[in-house]
């Protein structure tokens, strides 16, 4: 674990110390007594959590509604139609869209790893000519959004005759996520003492061996954070897919789901059954790295 991954807020220890009895060697299970202030904070936070989850809960509820209850103004369906989750893949083209999304998100994450890791390692460890220029380039790219460059992207890949290709979406998603990955990884690798590597190199591992055997294992939290971020962003990407993939079978899931709305009568239950399948995995992935997000943001931009 890197020293940057500590999450305890600075005030945490202090407030506890004030209220706890000064008994040395506290038993593993502290008696749970909370001040009214803590309870109020908890109540507010829990209510907010419900508000944040409501739209997604409603998606799940709609995904479980039988077709004949869709237009009912009721909060909950009379019966649950679990079959929606199966039918949506059978009766629509979304299965193919799901495959494209998996390929694009997986492919661009792999490409980002292959491209960003060496760049970040070298930038963190060496003062080469053009290091500043490279870091500036990365920083400027971070300000560029695919949305603002849509026309240029479309014209470029139209001329290259690369529209409707999975490779195009992989390249684009990797390129627009590269900056963030390079920043996080440079910061992480920079925080690993270079002496460890030097010791390994004295032992005769060579630079590459030192990288693979010493630095990489220590940089795992940073690498995982950067990769999950990339995967989630690519998985959720919409505008580039909408613009660069015009045939139904080349479109990612977001674009496929968006296509549902254009239809004459929207099958909301199917739409949200597909959405839930698309949302749940990334929320779980994100929850896994939640603890590293704060430190990642600190390393990447705040500090």
């Amino acid at each position: 674990m890197s020293p940057r991954t500590t999450t305890a807020p600075p005030g945490a220890g202090r407030t506890r110390g004030a209220t706890e009895p000064a008994v040395p060697a506290a038993p593993p299970r502290r008696p749970r007594r909370f001040s009214p202030r803590t309870l109020l904070i908890a109540a507010v936070a829990w209510s907010l959590a419900v508000v944040f989850l409501l739209p997604y809960a409603e998606m799940v509820i709609t995904a479980l509604r039988p077709a004949d209850e869709l237009r009912d103004a009721t909060y909950l369906p009379g019966e649950l139609a679990w079959s929606n989750f199966v039918d949506v893949w059978r009766e629509s083209e979304l299965g193919q869209n799901l495959k494209v999304s998996l390929l694009v998100a997986g492919g661009s994450t792999l490409l980002v790893l292959l491209v960003a890791l060496p760049a970040a390692y070298y930038t963190a460890r060496t003062r080469f000519r053009g290091r500043k220029a490279f870091l500036l380039l990365v920083l400027v790219t971070q300000m560029f959004q695919p949305t603002s460059l849509l026309v240029g992207l479309y014209r470029q890949f139209h001329q290259l005759d690369m529209l409707n290709s999975v490779w195009t979406l992989i390249l684009c998603n990797a390129a627009f996520n590269l900056a963030f990955a390079v920043w996080i990884l440079t910061a992480y690798i920079g925080s690993i003492p270079v002496q460890l590597e030097e010791a390994a190199m004295i032992d005769g591992t060579g630079r590459f061996g030192a990288l693979v055997r010493v630095t990489l294992p220590l940089a795992v939290p940073g690498v995982v954070t950067a990769l999950i971020f990339t995967f989630i962003t690519a998985w959720n990407e919409f505008v580039m897919g909408l613009t660069l993939a015009t045939t139904p079978e080349s479109q990612p899931l977001t674009v496929g789901i968006n296509g549902f709305i254009g239809n004459y009568s929207v099958q909301w239950n199917y739409l949200f059954a597909a959405s839930v399948v698309a949302i749940v995995p990334v929320v779980v992935l994100f929850a896994l790295i939640e603890r590293h997000v704060v430190s990642g943001l600190t390393a990447g931009s705040v500090k």
Partner: protein
């Protein structure tokens, strides 16, 4: 660019005294390491910028055939477009309102989630849901909840007596705008709150200790100690949100498609509406958009740095 947003090279990288190789090896040395990254950025990020600017000066048919140079003709047509003034006004209101409300709410949220309370971990997981979920799908979810006949928000507000009968909220710009802004704030809150939380954690505990010894009230401590120290994180939050919210496309696209006509379009959505009918005009709008984002960010940083400088001089 101001130093406020420029993330400095990681500290340890500097203090670790990196070696500086010399000779031909030094010239070629970085290439295998950073070459692929540079190539990817140049080919997929910078080339489209060039292509976009070039397209805005070309005369292109709907089928994509280049008929020759158009000079500034596209820009002249863009500025003659009757909808443009309305779209630009809406864009400014949209960006300022969404970023402003997001920053204010996030300050409160960050303070709340920085406390210790039972279930903090779980509630934080709930908070990240809108960040992890696709913005497009969240927006579709909200448009379904606002559905005229079966939308749960219509049902809820009718049951609570807030409205007499279910309404078609997204049907008219006057009600569609506030709802879309709510969704934009909703999806911007997690990232912003986490940025501010990261900022809060860089404030050393001793600072608060000192403030307590001095006998300042909670509110005074927040205003005089926390806020000034939170400034770098706050600035990062504002700048990233300015860029994101200005470019925000999926929310409006999913909820109204910018319609009726261009009445609920920001300049980004307007650019997309133009793309299918008139790519030259669309390219000109993109270039204007791009310039606007850069101007906005630079202006904001200038103003905020000027504030900091004048405050320091006053001391």
């Amino acid at each position: 660019m101001s130093t406020h947003t420029t993330p400095r090279p990681p500290r340890a990288a500097r203090s670790a005294a990196p070696r500086r190789p010399s000779g031909i090896a030094a010239r070629l040395g970085p290439l295998p390491w950073i070459g692929p990254a540079v190539a990817l950025i140049v080919l997929v990020v910078l080339w489209p910028v060039y292509e976009m600017v070039r397209t805005s000066f070309l005369n292109i048919s709907i089928s994509g055939f280049v008929r020759g140079s158009a000079g500034l003709e596209q820009y002249r047509r863009l500025f003659d477009e009757p909808d443009l003034a309305g779209v630009l006004t809406a864009t400014v209101v949209w960006t300022v309102a969404v970023v402003g409300v997001t920053m204010a709410l996030s300050l409160a949220l960050a303070q709340l989630f920085n406390q210790r309370f039972p279930g903090r971990r779980l509630t934080r997981w709930a908070l990240i849901a809108p960040w992890a979920a696709s913005v497009l799908m969240t927006a579709i979810g909200f448009s379904w909840m606002l559905d005229r006949t079966a939308g749960v928000l219509n049902t809820l507000m009718t049951d609570l007596g807030l409205i007499d009968a279910p309404r078609d909220w997204l049907g008219s710009p006057a009600t569609a705008w506030p709802w879309m802004m709510c969704v934009a704030v909703f999806v911007s809150l997690p990232f912003t709150t986490y940025t501010l939380l990261a900022g809060l954690q860089t404030i050393p505990g001793e600072v608060y200790e000192a403030a307590r010894v001095d006998g300042t009230s909670t509110w005074q401590t927040y205003r005089l100690v926390t806020l000034p120290l939170l400034r770098p994180a706050f600035l990062v939050g504002v700048v990233i949100n300015l860029i994101n919210v200005f470019n925000s496309f999926p929310i409006i696209w999913a909820m109204t498609r910018g319609g009726p006509a261009s009445d609920t379009a920001t300049s980004t959505v307007f650019m997309y509406q133009l793309k299918s009918s008139d790519i030259g005009l669309s390219a000109a709008m993109s270039v204007v958009n791009f310039a606007l984002v850069v101007l906005m960010v630079v202006a904001f940083l200038k103003v905020s740095r000027w504030n900091a400088d004048s405050k320091e001089e006053a001391r």
